[in-house]
């Protein structure tokens, strides 16, 4: 396989042959190639199709600003759409496909759009497709959607892993061209902690693309030596293949390191990419500059490229885009390209320069004129040049370099809303005055377009930001050509002249946008989609701006600029997500009995980050209801045990502990006796219930506060707020002990009998009545805590031991309880029993319910101040028709009363206007033998016994129910006091 356009030299390793496929055809390239350079070397110019008109597209650039040569890289689950061939590093076995074509790349059926382009101008779709009304979704839009988009996803799970990482430095240098390298050398020698990052796979930037020398070496060799010195510094971290994607607040930068994108498949366990968060004190932005195209008729054919790109392919990659080349330029840099190509032995058909004072050359012809049109269906064949004397010359060439001047790469200076400033001599925007904190810009990015200027700027920047004393380091001699440029944006009278080659935005579209009143830059962008393509307008915005300025009779800065937003280049969503996906999306919190519960065949359920046993399936049980009913009945008839460790526990100590609880609970705690526990309701300051739970007093200055599982964190935060911000002088100390204790609820008539077998103290009703709490010991001496509280409504205890003993304790309980058939129960049974008992949980404490709604208004003490008490008394929260928590039961006991259903008057209409409330929680009560529910009902407390209609049109429910007390079982509470 011969590479017909491969030249001598360059920075590629011709010794290593790399095989790759593009659109099924096999080619070879070398180590050091990009996919684009390898394809060009093989004589492939056509690489894609444009978005709207499906025009043939080849490479425009040699960098990450590439708008055209986007390919689908790799295959199967690793298929990756819209990858720039110009940055894709060639590896052996690489497979790529062209995109956005219907049929083959050469014969794209959708190219028909180009014929009708005159009807498909900017914004045409806003003016049509409106009739008939129903046709948009049904007909027009599906067609548009199908045609839209560029590459496709495989829709298979991304098989690669991505890491996150965190780095710290004194100085971050973005870009390793002359300015960046010089800044790094200066800073590195000073001993500062430096990170030097470049998106390319080798350092050097433009130095790798140029032929001139620095000192006595070629620029590329100088770069290599600089890198060698930098690698010897322990205080310098060199990061190739690393794109700084954004400058965020306070010196935090996002960086994506492509660890494995240059190999076929990442090594096992190794990340494809690492998303680094870099914390730096100072930043030198040395991101270089991007050359501008020129707009002329049919300037979008494959083979028409940025002049600097043709130069890069020849010098760095040893590739001739074509053997016969011409340059269209408005500045001296175009001539440099011609000279380099000539030196490589290519035929320079002509340098077409718009300037009258263009420099002449011995080696090639320089024409004063303009390119007015081009030919070549799938690639450039001819260009027509109109000379200054009006005559037309046709050049027979396969490559045309456009050299419209350079735009400093100001992208990252805009990330914190900084606005670039217009520079007349460069005819370009340069960094403005408001830069991200700690950032300084150097080199071409700052408008220093010569190599000498870049080297000096880099060194100076490092000195300034690091405040280095001493004199400027000695800089090598280097190219220092002045900028000689005559601003020139588009050829007079051109119409189908491309500005945004990816989105097919032409000069004609900009004119139409102006004609229809879309004249501000943002309107221009949004109406024509100029600069909305995957390169974010890096090569297209300026041209559009310039033309709009001329049409509006304003200067370019008057029309304004569009600022850039992160990321600098498109970033894999997988990299931004990192490891937190699949099962690792959130941490798993396991309870102390988890290992044991697994052995028991428990079915687990997510409760926040906790994994709790939902029920314990026994052999022969085929439906979850069987397990749950069994657990409930066994508990109420004998004894059950449940892991309640997940409830939040806060250790409250200090001389003011009781006063503090008086503030956070709406009911009183000051007089709670030592050894006693009390139910407490916490309100938010707006008077709505925040959380409920119990607080036990272990000593005068020591309470244990429990919260619901879901609210453990917010309640702790709230308590700290009250402590630190509202009552800063209270002697009270808080610390969460949720994790420190394994806690089990033991409930049922036999719970005391079971307990007596394992604990060392007397827990008879006399010695340890309802709502008692104490520090005790179990099994001859293990420290433990015992609370006589009941969520189930049965005689019940909660016993806690240090977490490490949790596994041993549950096994002990099961062993000791065997004679009572002790039954472990899960969250479902827990839920059934609390509904039977009428206890509220998250479904009721939903952030909109007040104490009144919960039937607890009397708990809100008038005698003292507590958080939320004042606003809980607002009229609107205390209306007669307020919602009250009640119970509902079906009239036909075989009916369900599902949660989420709405209550309607038995004989009234069924609509929102007549809504009477809704069911918050529901279950089947194995004790009552029918479904029951808790509900919020307007004026509910006065409607006991009323027949109502329960409807859920969503799920097809419509049953007759009766309003009853929410306490379905043991309303007098005799069991729990037994």
């Amino acid at each position: 396989m011969i590479q017909k356009n491969r030249l001598e030299g360059g920075q590629i390793d011709t010794a290593t042959l790399l095989k790759f496929k593009f659109d099924g055809k096999s080619y070879v390239g070398h180590e050091g190639d990009t996919l684009a350079s390898a394809l060009l070397a093989n004589g492939v110019r056509l690489m894609g199709r444009s978005f709207k008109y499906h025009r043939p597209r080849g490479v425009l650039s040699a960098g990450s600003e590439e708008p055209n040569a986007l390919v689908q890289l790799r295959s199967g689950a690793r298929q990756e759409p819209n990858t720039r061939a110009t940055t894709a590093e060639l590896f052996d076995g690489l497979v790529a496909k062209s995109q956005n074509r219907f049929g083959s790349l050469r014969f794209d059926a959708m190219a028909i759009n180009d014929r009708f382009s005159n009807f498909l101008t900017a914004g045409f779709y806003y003016k049509t497709f409106m009739w008939p009304k129903t046709f948009w979704e049904k007909v027009y839009e599906p067609i548009i959607r199908k045609a839209a988009g560029l590459g496709s996803l495989s829709l298979l799970d991304d098989p690669d892993v991505y890491d996150k990482g965190f780095l710290y430095c004194n100085l971050l240098i973005i870009g390793a061209g002359p300015a960046g390298l010089m800044a790094a050398l200066t800073a590195g020698r000073s001993g500062a902690n430096v990170i030097l990052a470049d998106e390319d796979f080798t350092f050097g930037g433009r130095l790798n693309s140029e032929t001139f020398s620095i000192g006595d070496d070629s620029s590329a060799v100088w770069a290599a030596e600089a890198v060698a010195e930098l690698s010897s510094f322990p205080n310098v971290r060199l990061m190739v293949r690393t794109t700084i994607i954004g400058a965020f607040d306070h010196g935090i930068y996002g960086a994506v390191e492509r660890v494995s994108d240059h190999v076929a498949i990442p090594d096992a366990g190794k990340p494809r990419q690492i998303m680094w968060r870099i914390y730096t004190q100072r930043t030198v932005l040395a991101a270089g500059a991007i050359e501008r195209p020129i707009a002329f008729e049919n300037n979008d054919r494959p083979g028409i490229m940025l002049g600097s790109a043709i130069r890069t392919y020849a010098n760095r990659f040893a590739v001739a885009v074509d053997k016969s080349v011409a340059i269209f330029t408005n500045n001296d840099d175009g001539h440099r390209t011609a000279a380099d190509l000539h030196a490589k032995g290519l035929k320079i058909a002509a340098v077409v320069d718009v300037r009258a004072n263009a420099p002449l050359s011995m080696d090639f012809e320089v024409l004063q004129g303009q390119v007015i049109n081009t030919k070549g269906r799938l690639g450039l064949t001819f260009v027509d040049v109109k000379l200054s004397d009006g005559t037309i010359r046709t050049l027979d060439i396969g490559a045309l370099g456009m050299s419209g001047g350079w735009n400093p790469n100001v992208h990252m200076t805009c990330h914190q809303r900084g606005r670039p400033r217009w520079n007349e001599s460069l005819a370009a925007f340069v960094p403005g005055d408001t830069l991200p904190n700690g950032m300084i810009v150097a080199g071409a990015a700052n408008g220093d377009m010569s190599t000498a200027g870049a080297l000096h700027g880099g060194a100076q920047a490092a000195r300034v930001v690091l405040g280095l004393k001493g004199s400027m380091p000695k800089l090598p001699t280097a190219e220092d050509a002045p900028i000689r440029l005559t601003p020139f944006w588009y050829v007079e009278g051109c119409s189908r002249a491309w500005l945004d080659q990816q989105n097919d935005v032409t000069v004609k579209d900009v004119k139409l946008s102006h004609q229809e009143g879309f004249r501000s830059v943002e309107h221009l962008k949004r109406y024509t989609t100029l600069g909305m393509s995957t390169d974010q307008g890096k090569t297209s915005n300026m041209g559009g701006l310039a033309i709009m300025a001329e049409l509006a009779g304003k200067t370019i800065p008057e029309v304004g600029t569009t600022i850039f937003r992160p990321p600098y280049t498109p970033t894999a969503i997988g990299a931004l997500a990192g490891r937190n996906r699949g099962q690792d999306f959130h941490p798993k919190r396991l309870t102390p009995s988890h290992k044991w519960a697994l052995e028991q065949g428990a079915v687990f359920v997510e409760v926040g980050n906790w994994m709790r046993a939902q029920w314990f399936q026994k052999d022969g049980e085929t439906h979850w209801r069987e397990s749950v009913d069994r657990e409930v009945l066994a508990t109420r008839s004998s004894v059950g045990v449940c892991d309640v460790t997940t409830l939040g526990k806060v250790d409250v100590q200090g001389m003011d502990a009781a006063n503090f609880l008086n503030k956070i609970y709406c009911n009183g705690f000051a007089k709670l006796a030592v050894g006693k526990t009390r139910y407490g309701l916490m309100l938010r300051e707006d008077g709505i219930a925040l959380d409920d739970g119990t607080a036990g007093r272990l000593a005068n200055d020591h309470f244990i506060v429990t919260t619901t599982t879901a609210n453990a964190l917010p309640v702790y935060r709230h308590m700290e707020f009250v402590r630190q911000c509202l009552f800063p002088d209270m002697d009270v100390q808080l610390i969460s002990t949720t994790e420190a204790w394994a806690q089990y609820a033991i409930a049922g008539p036999n719970s005391r009998n079971l307990l007596e077998k394992i604990i060392d103290q007397d827990v008879s009703n006399g010695a340890f009545p309802f709502m008692s709490c104490a520090n005790i010991t179990i099994c001859n001496g293990l420290r433990a805590r015992l609370f006589r509280i009941s969520f189930s409504g049965e005689l019940a205890f909660e016993i806690a031991v240090p977490t490490a003993y949790g596994d041993a304790l549950i096994r002990k309980i099961m062993e000791a309880g065997a004679e009572f058939d002790v039954t472990p129960y899960g969250t479902e049974a827990l839920g059934v029993m609390r509904i039977e008992k009428g206890h509220a949980t998250g479904n009721e404490l939903n952030g909109t319910t007040s104490a009144l709604n919960l039937g607890m208004e009397r708990m809100v003490s008038e005698a003292k101040d507590s958080i939320g008490s004042i606003l809980s008394r607002r009229k609107g929260m205390n209306r007669a028709d307020a919602l009250f928590q009640m119970g509902v039961k079906p009239l036909d006991l075989s009916d369900d009363v599902p949660a989420g259903s709405h209550l309607m008057n038995a004989d009234g209409p069924v609509d929102a206007a007549h809504d009477q409330g809704y069911v918050t929680s529901a279950c089947y009560s194995p004790n009552l033998g029918h479904a029951i529910g808790l509900a919020f009902i307007k004026n509910g407390s006065n409607r006991i016994g009323e027949k109502m209609r329960l409807v859920s049109p969503l799920t097809g429910v419509d049953v007759a129910v009766e309003i009853v007390s929410p306490h379905f079982i043991d309303p007098q509470g005799e069991r729990l006091r037994a």
């Binding site: 965190f166 100390q733 610390i735 010991t777």
Partner: protein, 187 residues
């Protein structure tokens, strides 16, 4: 004496050890922990006891590592004291006796999983886990931070290649998994 057996945070009868060429991850099951918070107006008294116990009151962001009783800073006037579990099973009671009303003492032994990371790749691994400037830290530096959404203490130990991570005990398996993947990807 009771006969209840503990299990480790990772669920084993004995602590888990994972050995790689470049790193070793050790589950350390032998520390007893208790938090100590100075009572308001009793700070001086509290410092005195700490001084006696540790030789010095741990400063902000610092740990005292050399004694059998070691301690590190948790927050303003709040410290975590640690000691060998064999000798200090009842660390909270023992400390409460010493501090009396000068401090609030809370048992924390069961609340944390302790994982020691030892090996040359320790800094590289730490960089992939949390926003802590591990290379700038010196022995005895402590930071509380987040590792994959888990609030952890990160302690730079005496040995230059050792890091100690205390994480919520209930998330021990997740935390260990995070360490293992980081170890593999830095191998």
């Amino acid at each position: 004496m009771h006969n209840l057996q503990t299990i480790t945070a990772l669920g084993g009868k004995t602590p888990r050890i994972d050995v790689f060429d470049h790193i070793t991850i050790i589950e350390n099951d032998s520390v007893a922990l208790a938090s100590v918070t100075a009572r308001m107006g009793r700070e001086a008294g509290c410092y005195k006891v700490l001084q006696k116990l540790l030789g010095v009151v741990p400063e902000t962001g610092r740990a005292v590592l050399h004694n059998t009783e070691t301690g590190f800073y948790m927050g303003l006037d709040q410290w975590m004291l640690t000691a060998p579990r064999v000798s200090h099973e009842l660390i909270a009671d023992q400390l409460k006796k010493l501090f009396g009303d000068n401090a609030s003492v809370t048992e924390q032994s069961g609340a944390w999983v302790c994982l020691d990371i030892i090996g040359r790749a320790m800094p590289d691994m730490c960089e992939r886990l949390c926003a802590v400037p591990v290379r700038q830290m010196v022995a005895g530096d402590v930071q509380r931070t987040v590792i994959h959404k888990m609030g952890c203490f990160v302690i730079r130990c005496m040995a230059n290649d050792q890091l100690r991570i205390l994480g919520p005990r209930s998330t021990a398996a997740t935390l260990h998994h995070a360490l293992m993947t980081a170890a593999t990807s830095t191998a």
